[in-house]
């Protein structure tokens, strides 16, 4: 089994290597962004006239940015100062490349371990529904907490859309939208070494979608997107050990909050999948103690919509897609400029279902999934 998987990985890795994108040994590559993002305001996203897209991989080394920073906010949809996806420029500092990728069955969300050496992900995988892990060199994944049969009464998972890992790397948290005693979703904790998932007390019924781990007073807290008892979408917080769920913001500008990432200053960056005036997605920011504000309007995202913030808190990375080709892109968001630029066309442009995205705690190593339908069609990417 393992041998077969390894072969599959290396086979799949071929095209990436041929495209000059495969990086081994942890080297970093400069990668220019490719085609301009369209900022059409057509409804679901659909019909846009996008220009060509030639991807140029500039083989820079050691973090030299290829940024031209000429991104312009075209402000197509006039929602109060929000930026839009840029139609020119590369949008800023990013010197990432796909480091490796592994074939998996239908992954939902992925997070690197704190040091980036492992990737943990939720998936309806080859061994069943649950949590898997894989070394971030692209080797084959192995189960952590997986239930082969959906009818298994011990299986707590139904829709494990979100994953996060504790600061010490020992505990995995899973946001499940459909499980839980209430049938309205819950967050589960499971040892990174494997074992039986346990309910994080207080979270049952909150339809949790995505989690980020924040240290408060030396203890891990979970900030998560979900739905309150009245059915209102919101952002909530709960001690990782369980306890009382505290709303951060509920209702208001939020419609369908999905992925989120918390900056060092406490600001929460999140994706709402349908909040834009034209029913497309928005990237929002909730300053600590404040209310949600639109950072970038009218973007196209995958689902579960993934977002992560760079260690310098200047750049967001969003699992998006190109509305013309309906294929995956990484959206690189310059927080200061409020612009989003499509990137990684070469590496991601043959995939169609971008999903969850997280950053390693201590470095700019990211994990991103694509859950293209069908057996063995999914991918977990490591981006360095």
């Amino acid at each position: 089994m393992k041998d077969r998987r390894l072969k599959r990985f290396w086979y799949r890795a071929g095209p990436l290597a041929a495209a000059g994108a495969l990086v081994t040994g942890g080297a970093m590559m400069g990668c220019s962004s490719d085609s301009p993002t369209s900022s059409s305001t057509s409804g679901t996203g659909g019909n846009t006239d996008v220009t060509s897209s030639t991807t140029t991989m500039s083989g820079g080394t050691g973090g030299a940015s290829t940024s031209s920073s000429s991104a312009t906010a075209t402000a197509a949809a006039g929602t109060g100062g929000a930026g839009t996806t840029s139609s020119s420029g590369t949008g800023g500092q990013h010197d990432l490349a796909i480091g490796s990728a592994a074939d998996v069955h239908r992954p939902f969300d992925a997070t690197p371990s704190p040091d980036g050496s492992q990737v943990y992900f939720t998936a309806d995988g080859a061994n069943g529904l649950g949590v898997y892990k894989a070394p971030s060199d692209g080797s084959a994944p192995t189960p952590v907490a997986v239930y082969p049969a959906a009818i298994d009464p011990a299986n707590p998972f139904a829709g494990p859309f979100g994953i996060a890992i504790s600061t010490d790397g020992k505990t995995i948290f899973v946001a499940d939208v459909a499980g839980g005693p209430s049938d309205r979703g819950a967050i589960y904790a499971v040892s990174a070494a494997g074992g039986t998932p346990t309910l994080v007390s207080g979270t049952d019924g909150f339809v949790p979608r995505s989690i980020d781990v924040v240290v408060v007073g030396g203890l891990d807290n979970l900030t998560f997107s979900g739905t309150d008892a009245k059915g209102l979408p919101g952002i909530f917080s709960v001690p990782a050990a369980g306890g009382t769920v505290t709303p951060v913001t509920v209702g208001g500008a939020l419609h369908d909050p999905s992925g989120l990432a918390v900056a060092k200053d406490g600001a929460i960056y999140l994706i709402d999948t349908i909040a834009s005036g034209n029913s497309a997605a928005q990237i929002l920011v909730i300053p600590q103690g404040g209310s949600p504000k639109v950072l970038v309007d009218d973007v196209r995202v995958g689902y579960p919509a993934g977002i992560a913030i760079s260690t310098d808190d200047k750049t967001l990375y969003v699992s998006g897609f190109n509305p013309q080709e309906l294929t995956d892109r990484l959206l690189v968001v310059d927080i200061a400029a409020k612009t989003a630029t499509e990137s990684f066309k070469t590496e991601l442009g043959t995939f169609t279902e971008s999903g969850g995205l997280h950053r390693a705690k201590t470095s700019d190593i990211f994990a991103l999934v694509d859950s293209s339908a069908g057996p063995k069609a999914g991918k977990v990417f490591v981006i360095k």
Binding site: S42, G43, F161, R184, S279, P304, Q324, L326
Partner: protein, 480 residues
């Protein structure tokens, strides 16, 4: 933008320019495997035509709807994003205008059976029309989206017309005064009409209507045995006679459709719009034990329709679901081969239509069938792109939209009006070409040539829905 168009043109040119025919059929009712399981999101037909100083757009959903289909009559779905899209000009297929229509259904009021209320004989638990919810209490909003402008709520709250159930429901539930019909009460009478004005001009309507389409579905799908084409002894049939559909009808001022200025009379590519409609659902649904559903994630298009019969008759079954997920601006890139080599010609050949004595024998061009089987972009695309309507001002973009020159009277393929026999036109185009010299075989009607009931002379133009109580048993289902 221009780069893309140029590339597409080059690709199409490379595919060849010729002339010859292909085969065809029913509009877009249940036309693809996936959407056939999702009627509320199934865009069955789209119509667009110039009427006075307005552009009228009809977007129909829920095909083959039985008027008597209670106790849960067909409704628009609150979980679907319905859209009418409009591109403008010679080059673009992106939206210059998008109308987004969303529905809200009032839940049925819960009554505790223990309390035996409302008493006596409230009947609200069983009869939907007395329950105050569901199909009988649905509202909608219309939002106009234009690039570079803030979204505009042009209809904050319209009310959907309810199912046309029968006279007792008219009397007891709808409280329609004696002597008034369903149609008079809900549409024609100004005091009670559910036609609403849109902010900025124009009108909107949403509700069940007679399905204006007409086609011999039963014959078509019995390996193209359209009556009386396949058997002259059989009369033409309209398979969707006495069936309803759910219509969204928008009357859009020409000034709005044209981007702010009144259209100039006469042919102009710049004022030619490309209209299509769609339906989208959120990516993920979760079914709860208590009977409720939750929906999460970005909108994903699951159905679309511009020109009639394209997904039905031109796109192969292997690609029909994918077609519904894409947009007209994708068509030249992904589906050009289907237009260049219409599969329906080969299918018609396979069942002997072009053989000696076959119904389409006269369509075989002098060089033989290959000229009909491939190289068709040269005659199909020009008809779609209106060379006879916009003259020297060519339309360069290629995609499945209904072109309407706002400065000219409409007539398919320049617009599509309710009464037009588009099946006839498209069958001729695909199977025999519309080129002079290869006329469709004379004297062979291709099926029904009109709707079973007259259309309305005024907005919303589509005819009243058939009444559930009297719709079945159906009258003899043949046309005079």
């Amino acid at each position: 933008m221009m780069k893309r168009i140029q590339w597409m043109s080059a690709a199409l040119t490379a595919l060849g320019v010729l002339a010859a025919p292909s085969l065809a059929l029913a509009s877009s009712h249940r036309e693809a495997p996936s959407i056939s399981n999702d009627p509320a999101a199934d865009n069955t037909d789209t119509y667009a035509w110039v009427k006075g100083t307005n552009l009228v757009v009809v977007a129909d959903y829920i095909g083959l709807e039985l008027p008597e289909g209670g106790p849960n009559w067909a409704t628009f779905s609150d979980d679907v994003l319905y859209e009418v899209h409009m591109a403008r000009g010679a080059d673009k297929l992106s939206d210059a205008l998008t109308y987004q229509i969303r529905f809200t259904t009032t839940p049925v009021v819960r009554h505790d059976p223990m309390l035996n209320e409302p008493a006596p004989a409230g009947g609200r638990e069983f009869f939907g029309q007395l329950s105050g919810g569901g199909a009988f209490n649905q509202t909608y909003s219309v939002t106009l989206i234009q690039p570079g402008k803030a979204p505009l709520l042009v209809v904050p709250k319209g009310v959907v017309t309810p199912p046309n159930v029968g006279p007792m429901t008219n009397n007891v539930a709808y409280k329609i005064p004696a002597g008034k019909t369903y149609e008079q009460f809900f549409v024609d009478d100004a005091a009670t009409t559910r036609v609403v004005a849109m902010a900025g001009g124009g009108s909107a309507f949403a509700g069940p209507r007679d399905d204006p389409f007409f086609v011999d579905l039963g014959g078509v799908f019995d390996l193209a045995q359209i009556r009386p084409v396949a058997n002259p002894a059989e009369a033409a049939r309209d398979s969707i006679k006495y069936m309803n559909v759910h219509s969204i009808v928008l009357e859009i001022p020409l000034v709005t459709a044209n981007g702010g200025a009144a259209p100039i009379a006469g042919p102009h590519a710049a004022q030619t719009v490309g209209v299509w409609a769609s339906a989208s659902r959120q990516t993920v649904s979760v079914l709860r034990k208590d009977g409720t559903d939750d929906h999460y994630g970005p909108w994903r298009q699951v159905s679309r329709l511009g020109l009639p019969l394209i997904n039905e008759a031109v796109i192969g079954v292997q690609d029909k679901d994918g077609w519904n997920r894409r947009t007209p601006s994708d068509d030249a890139t992904y589906y050009a081969q289907y237009f260049d080599k219409p599969i329906i010609v080969r299918d018609a050949e396979a069942i002997g239509f072009y053989g000696a004595g076959g119904p389409l024998a006269a369509c075989v061009p002098p060089g033989g069938l290959p000229a009909l089987e491939s190289g068709r972009l040269g005659d199909i695309v020009p008809i779609i792109n209106l060379p006879d309507h916009v003259g020297a001002e060519k339309i360069n973009s290629i995609g499945d939209v209904i072109r309407v020159d706002l400065g000219q009277p409409s007539g398919f393929p320049n617009g599509r009006q309710l009464q037009e026999d588009v099946v006839d036109v498209e069958l001729k185009l695909l199977l025999c070409t519309l080129n002079a010299g290869t006329p469709f075989p004379a004297g062979i009607p291709d099926g029904p040539t009109g709707n079973e009931t007259p259309f309305k002379a005024t907005f919303p133009y589509v005819a009243a829905p058939w009444e559930g109580r009297s719709a079945n048993p159906r009258p003899v289902n043949s046309l005079p």
